[in-house]
Assembly symmetry: C2
Homo-oligomer: 408 residues x 2
């Protein structure tokens, strides 16, 4: 963890134990730092798993193997290495992941593809197999730890530990979702990766869990951006142990399916927001709401064009209601838009409507809104019913200091 | 012009007069600044014109009208307003442009569509018609000026005047190209626009001039990026007066056609590089060369993904040969790439070949290269014959200072 905590940091929530999911942490020594850096979560037999992974073509072996393994739908363990992303390391990197899968599978007596591995940290250095072997051996014998300890251990240059909690009533029983995450996109000097994990005691079919996770990710993780740079290792996995004892959810019509889906999306949104709140150099949390687009997907793309615009992000950092830069970013998105129907607002107040600045635009309340930490930008395209909200942070000297004032 | 000159600035070249193209400058007073801000170039009858314009959907009326006018192929005048981009100003902005076109056309006795207008500066404020009318009247009566004066007058927050020169032998005669440009993408607080103009005495058919300009733009202006933000007003126009007296060029087989095409691409590349050299906060000029792509267009997209990556740009600012970030940016480009065939180099030295870091990689000469002002990044995808080079600058504290430490 970094010394300086983000000004947008949130306290770690009181995450309860999840029956059938037990975290442990140890120090494998991947980096020369005095902290634990290997997290091991043992999962009960029959745990359902679903996952979403980076679309970066240069992905790590962890991502390749995880994407294959998730198809069979069951998980017995998760191992997360911090300090080395093992990306762009060729066959040597892949051997290290396969070694960890084999070591844990042998211990638990399960198929290797039920062991999920993630790694985060420097790119281009093969994960050292000896340190991994000793670390995993220690983890298999370690005492359980808290979710907060696990959240802290999967972090690299994160400035605070990030967790989320939700519950839902399913089939008359309360199910619990405890989730942890690290990162903020390509996060810091030589470090990569957003890694997120949801643990729940609900009983659910793996295929349906995957369906719900993919849909939730589209509206949460796929709607955040810090710097437009897509990591080689981004991974979100959901594990459902089934220990709540509800009748298994396997379709949208099942009792409690909607309640669980809403709770899952809730924790995913919480986690996504936490990543933005730890964005490199972030001073402000920005929500960009797009309405009136030709489709929801078109709205999302317009929102991301605005959220990724360095000129919009620096304007917000400067507390400047520079709607001209928002117009520019909408226009470059490559999506259907009509300059003469476009409206732009900040903090609930329109600055421009239907292609023209408002004659009676009162900048005082907008200026006051921009001095706050939570900034709302509204964009109405005036074309259709499509809508989306994306979240980002401002672009400040802090980002440059973290990423440029540094030599690897 | 800004006070602090870019460390990458080039001196203005000795641009000669172009027969049939005469620049003039006056002060219209669009902004409260003590300098000329209206440029008027009178063009001889029969001057051929071609143009390329921003693809930003929220473009200015100047761009809309110019895109229409260029189709008829002839030009008698160019008017450039600095200090107000007149973008996102609705019908009032359009009326101001039409007023200027009418005023100059009446004076010259030519069709209105032979008068080309560009504007650059603040977005969202209609160009004041009274100031424009008085400014144009003064310009029509003003004495001629130098190309350097014109280059300085079209600028807004540019830190140096930018010009380019080339000659070609066509049909036994030497033809001259004098060109000026302003901007560096969306350039500065509330300012927009890259505006470039090429003046030449060659005789050429408008349709063929357009063909050559479009092709040159694809390999020059469309291969530069400062911050990935596309202005609402970007415009490049080429004017050919025909005064060199060569037999008119109207196809690729004509005498001198290849020589002229090469000279045109040469000045376009010079202008494009000058814009990058005045990129906001730029300390280093970066060339990203991509080879082995499935097509030239695919290579260009991969190059732009790298050139637009904040993490790559901050790494170069920090003089850090961080090839892991280049791998990341290649992988997120959305183009065909194979991690295990990918090679990355700096300053002519490979750091990684075919998906793996080089065991005998010598970082010392690479570190020395990165301390320089001109940085070369080489990317070989190992898939095909497609290639492209794109140019950008680094991302520094200067960019943040210019764009965030500011209130409009």
């Amino acid at each position: 963890m970094s010394e300086a905590v983000s000004p947008l940091a949130s306290p770690f929530p009181p995450l309860p134990a999840i029956a059938g999911a037990t975290p442990h942490i140890v120090r494998a020594g991947y980096k020369d730092w005095g902290r634990c850096d290997l997290t091991y979560v043992e999962l009960a037999e029959g745990t359902a798993v679903a996952g979403v992974f980076t679309r970066n073509v240069c992905c790590s072996s962890e991502v390749e193997l995880g994407r294959d393994s998730v198809k069979q739908g069951r998980a017995r363990a998760l191992v997360v290495n911090a300090g080395n992303s093992n990306a762009f390391t060729g066959y040597r990197g892949r051997e290290a992941v396969e070694q960890i899968m084999g070591q844990v599978a042998d211990h638990l007596g399960c198929p290797r593809e039920q062991v999920f591995v993630s790694s985060t940290g420097v790119i281009g250095v093969p994960l050292p197999k000896d340190k991994a072997r000793a670390g995993v051996a220690a983890a298999l014998a370690a005492a359980p730890c808290s979710w907060e300890d696990a959240a802290r251990t999967i972090g690299t240059t994160d400035t605070f530990a990030k967790g989320a909690l939700a519950t839902a009533v399913v089939d008359g029983r309360t199910v619990t979702l405890a989730a942890i995450i690290k990162g903020s996109g390509m996060i810091a000097p030589d470090m990569a990766t957003m890694l997120g994990y949801v643990f729940t005691d609900v009983a659910i079919a793996p295929g349906y869990l995957q369906e719900l996770l993919s849909a939730a990710a589209d509206r949460t993780f796929n709607c955040i951006t810090v710097d437009s740079d897509t990591s080689t290792s981004d991974t979100v996995l959901a594990f459902a142990t089934g220990k709540a004892g509800n009748q298994q959810i396997n379709c949208s019509g099942c009792p409690g399916a909607d309640a669980f889906a809403a709770a899952l999306e809730d924790v995913c949104r919480q986690l996504a927001h936490l990543v933005v709140r730890d964005g490199e150099g972030a001073q402000k949390f920005i929500a960009v709401s797009v309405t009136g687009a030709v489709s929801d997907e078109s709205a999302r793309r317009v929102g991301l064009a605005v959220a990724n615009s360095p000129l919009v992000k620096t304007a917000i950092a400067g507390e400047d209601a520079n709607w001209g830069r928002v117009v520019m970013a909408v226009g470059k998105a490559g999506e259907p838009a009509d300059r003469d129907r476009l409206s732009i607002g900040f903090g609930g107040i329109w600055a421009a409507r239907e292609g023209q600045p408002l004659a009676d635009y009162d900048e005082a309340p907008v200026a006051a809104h921009l001095k706050g930490q939570d900034i709302d930008i509204a964009i109405d395209l005036g074309l259709g019913e499509g809508r989306a909200t994306v979240w980002t942070c401002d672009l400040t000297h802090g980002y440059i200091s973290i990423n440029a004032d540094y030599r690897s």
